[in-house]
């Protein structure tokens, strides 16, 4: 039996973020969203509701889109993270980013990084019906556009009949 609490107030977190290896000792209570923004300094990931509802903080961890506000940095030690900064290469937008631009799929832009990372994480082959696209988009909130332009941008990129 353990007599005393074996936990640690601070933990070492080593992750790959957008292909770069980083290691930091951080408070155990640090959220992944705050790790990315405040410790690593990548502020493209936005923090909206901080309780897993809005999806603004969506990033990709080991290939899967997740809510970084509802995950501890400590939990993803050893993982590979991708954020919105990893999408464009030398200023050249991805086809989805370009479609967002052309369809004006944003107004204030606060939610955009989260949408882009959700979309980046999935195989478009699984989303060839418009109902599937709508269901996929339902995990991210946009309070400006009414979603129509975002929906149009996705459908144009993935060849879905809207």
């Amino acid at each position: 039996m353990m007599d005393t609490n074996p936990g640690l107030r601070e933990v070492d977190v080593s992750v790959s973020i957008n292909g770069t290896q980083v290691s930091h000792r951080v408070p155990a209570r640090l959220l992944l969203s705050d790790f990315i923004r405040d410790v690593v300094g990548l502020t493209g990931t936005h923090v909206g509701c901080e309780h897993g509802y809005c999806g603004a903080c969506t990033v990709i961890v080991d290939g899967d889109a997740i809510r970084s506000c509802s995950t501890l940095a400590a939990q993803i030690d050893g993982s590979a993270i991708r954020t919105v900064e990893d999408l464009a290469t030398d200023g050249e937008l991805t086809p989805m980013q370009q479609a967002f631009h052309e369809n004006h799929a944003m107004q204030c832009g606060f939610c955009t990084a989260g949408f882009l990372m959700t979309l980046e994480s999935v195989d478009p082959d699984g989303y060839q019906e418009k109902e599937q696209v709508i269901d996929l988009l339902s995990g991210n909130l946009c309070r400006c556009t009414g979603y129509h332009n975002i929906f149009n941008a996705v459908c144009s990129t993935w060849g879905v009949d809207s």
């Binding site: 609490n5 107030r9 209570r29 897993g52 999806g55 509802s70 995950t71 995990g139």
Partner: protein
């Protein structure tokens, strides 16, 4: 908001996890964290120790055998949903998981975590009751199994004892003549249900010959609908649905009033969901295709 400070421990074995839980009265088990971490961000929950079971050997097992599907405590909802083997053995799991939150949350959230959290509006507890699932629990005193029907006691309240953890859950294989479905009303796709229904329906010659109907998001915990389970026996696709509707409505006797819907609305919705679910299964010729 951010979580209050806590100590973090990531054991490699169930025994170490249990020993750590025994050192603190406010310790919490962390699996996917998709309910716990938001609650901690709000400071509704302020454990002094988090025991992260993500690294515990063996809890990541997802096994499909002749008797059914066994899901370890750290297996994510997305992993269960993606498995074609699971979808063949227990089709109700994939059908239900479609309604659970969103992709990003299912990618971290676990099946067992949802059962342990026991949100009254959550889908998986109700599905577990409808399917006759069995939970595997382990504490320092030993192991035990509990039927899902005996596990959920009230809102966020289960039969789990202090210091005990869920190590896994077993969903029995769906019988060839039975279809398990889950339907719900929610204001937004993926939100918690305002009213929901999980149903395991057995049909013979186009009529219902057996039923386990479980309401959720109505009262404080998922509950078998005794009246509707009787009323639905012998029901065929073209039958008048008023008796089934009325029985399901009565089964919602302890529906709650809240900001999302009135108790009366929930009871009416429960009646409508019962009729809709039963008709959907019968319309599929009792084999669940397209349900």
């Amino acid at each position: 908001m951010k979580p209050a400070a806590f100590d973090y421990y990531r054991p490699g074995t169930v025994e170490d996890a249990l020993a750590a839980l025994g050192t603190s009265e406010t310790a919490k088990v962390l699996a996917g964290g998709q309910s716990l971490i938001p609650a901690m961000n709000f400071r509704l929950s302020q454990p002094d120790l988090l025991v992260d079971i993500g690294g515990v050997g063996g809890l990541d097992r997802l096994e499909v055998g002749p008797s059914g599907v066994t899901i370890g405590a750290s297996v994510t909802q997305s992993r269960v949903m993606a498995s074609d083997e699971v979808a063949i053995a227990v089709p109700g799991l994939r059908r239900a998981l479609r309604h659970v939150a969103h992709l990003q949350i299912r990618n971290r959230g676990t099946v067992c975590g949802s059962l342990a959290h026991a949100d009254p509006a959550a889908e998986l507890p109700a599905l577990a009751v409808a399917c006759g699932a069995t939970l595997f629990l382990q504490g320092t005193a030993g192991r035990r199994t509990v039927d899902a029907g005996d596990f959920f006691l009230g809102p966020f309240w289960t039969d789990l004892a202090e210091g005990e953890i869920i190590t896994g859950v077993h969903f029995p294989s769906e019988a060839a003549d039975t279809v398990t479905v889950l339907d719900e009303l929610a204001w937004r796709s993926g939100d918690f249900a305002i009213t929901g229904l999980a149903a395991a329906l057995t049909t013979r010659d186009g009529t219902v010959s057996g039923a386990r109907l479980v309401s959720f998001g109505v009262g404080g915990a998922p509950r078998r609908m005794a009246g509707a389970e009787q009323a639905v026996l012998g029901f065929a696709l073209g039958d008048d649905s008023s008796a089934l509707y009325g029985a399901a409505y009565e089964d919602g006797f302890d529906a709650v009033d809240d900001i999302h819907a009135s108790a009366e609305y929930r009871r009416e919705a429960l009646g409508a969901l019962a009729v809709r679910s039963v008709r959907a299964v019968l319309a599929s010729n009792g084999n669940g295709t397209g349900v």
